[in-house]
Amino acid sequence: MVTFLFSSLLEDRYLKWLLVLPLIILLLVITIFPTLYAYYMSVHRITIETFRSPVFIGLKNFLMVLLSGEFWYSLIFTIIFMISATSIELALGLALALLFRSNIRGKSIMIALILTPLAVAPALYGLMFRLMLDPITGVIPAMFKLIGVNISPLSTLTSTVISLIVIDALQYTPFVFLILFAALHALPLEPVEAALVDGASSWQIIRYVTLPLIKPAVIVATIFRFMDSFKTFDTIYVITGGGPGISTSTVTINVYKQTFLMGNFGTGAAATLILFYLSMMAITVIYKVMYRKGESSER
């Protein structure tokens, strides 16, 4: 009987569930249960001292988040940051990918060096720039001084925000570059050759032949940069700590400070649930664009 049970467990229709069982247990414990627990937390007053005896306060936490200027400010700041950084990265990444399609010597070494920022932890990349931007010992202000410009990039809000966007662009342009470069590499030669025979200029070829062909890769790169820059925390946190005040706080920095520095776990949970629904709306659309479309075009 036992052997019979065991052998029928090894039939494909049961085995396939047995194989994903560890994964499902992990997801249940570390993601699904905490999400459900966040609902419970969001309607209670919970601090780190009192988490064993929470007080029910209804929807007050949600009101606290939705009525707080800080939450909305950080959301708008994040969206501005997301759009500016992603656009720069797409433009530069595409330019680099097109540039490196031409035959140049030492190409593979140059590409390897260009990819190094992707290997560096965002937190450490931020630290590097904190050293390089230091007004006294930093190499970047020193180089500006050399050409006669006295500038300290982290001294005003505008220049700080611009610096943060440039730093993000420096770290993730290689990401867009790599994806588009691979897509260009995989392109068939015929369409370009046909356009050349027809007398098209190299700009026309890029605009009307190459770009439409790598459109799926451009979309995928955009989606990932959008979603990942929405999560930005590490780099900005180590450079400005979200300040001065809350002026450079992304949503994650805002929720982090509310929850872990000020200790309002209930309010933090309410904020994360709002974020959860906002993100899920975007992800549902993304899933359709990325995978459904891919399947239908393969047929």
Binding site: L127, F260, S279, M280, I283
Partner: protein, 277 residues
């Protein structure tokens, strides 16, 4: 003649642009590496130039009393390796099942993709209270479980794309010959997926090594990793630029070596299998 000159100018501009881009992108890493070998006085007096190089920054970072950077490195190694091993053990059978049998249909793969795209702070808030109750705050196991879960999407999608490339006939003929599905999985699919497992482990390891938010929230001292350790340095030792540079250089060396090894596979990992490398 003119056409020839035009071609030469174009070639020259291409080289110039490519070299400029390379120099700009590589500059931060190269500059910090240089800084880590400069003595204190030279950093303060001469930010642009190099007069003398020294190893003292490294020696002091690794042996400073009361500030154990070596402990951070050890923690990062334990946590990243532990998570990589656990993730592969869970991801390999799951990836096979999802790829071959479409287990969980679109629901499961949608959930896995969401996990890759959702801001991790969403889970960090409730998990902090739960971890406090479960006694997992500031433990290696606690971070290993978090890293395994939240880097799982990357690992599964990389493995799925490798398993998807294997010819079905091999498995089918073994099944016809009477081999069980488990034998097929361990004797045929596993060895053939080895390159994929290597790529997936490197990508997973890098993701763990570079993580900051969870490490900042869920550790206090015992399980602190290099990213958090290095960022503490900047507030604790505000003026010791050379030390910070040495700490950063030590922390980024393994991942820079790894990225050179997985360059080609990187695209699959970065795009969750939506695009092939």
């Amino acid at each position: 003649m003119r056409a020839l000159r035009g071609k030469f100018v174009k070639k020259l501009l291409t080289y110039l642009a490519a070299i400029t881009a390379t120099v700009i992108m590589f500059f931060p890493v190269a500059y910090i590496a240089l800084l880590s070998f400069k003595p204190y006085a030279s950093i303060i007096m001469n930010p642009l130039g190099v007069d003398r190089l020294t190893l003292s920054n490294y020696i002091e970072v690794l042996s400073a009393p009361g500030y154990s950077f070596t402990q951070y490195i050890v923690n990062s190694v334990i946590i990243s390796l532990g998570s990589t091993a656990l993730a592969l053990a869970i991801a390999f059978p799951a990836a096979y099942s999802i790829q071959r049998f479409k287990t969980g249909s679109t629901n499961l793969s949608f959930y896995i993709l969401s996990l890759r795209l959702l801001p991790p702070i969403i889970f960090a808030v409730p998990l902090y209270i739960l971890y406090s109750m479960w006694g997992l705050i500031d433990t290696h196991v606690g971070l290993i479980l978090l890293y395994t879960t939240f880097n799982m999407p990357l690992t599964i999608f990389v493995l799925m794309s490798f398993i998807g490339e294997l010819p079905l006939e091999l498995e089918e003929s073994a099944l016809v010959d009477g081999a069980s599905r488990l034998t097929v999985l361990t004797r045929i699919v596993f060895p053939l997926t080895l390159p994929g497992l290597v790529a997936a482990s490197i990508l997973h390891f890098m993701a763990c090594w570079n993580e900051f938010l969870f490490a900042l929230i869920f550790t206090l001292k015992n399980a602190q990793t290099v990213t958090v350790g290095a960022s503490l340095y900047i507030t604790a030792w505000q003026i010791k630029w050379g030390h910070i540079a040495a700490a950063i250089s030590l922390s980024v060396t393994p991942t820079i070596i790894f990225i050179l090894l997985v360059q080609r596979k990187l695209v699959i990992g970065l795009t969750m299998g939506a695009l092939r490398g």
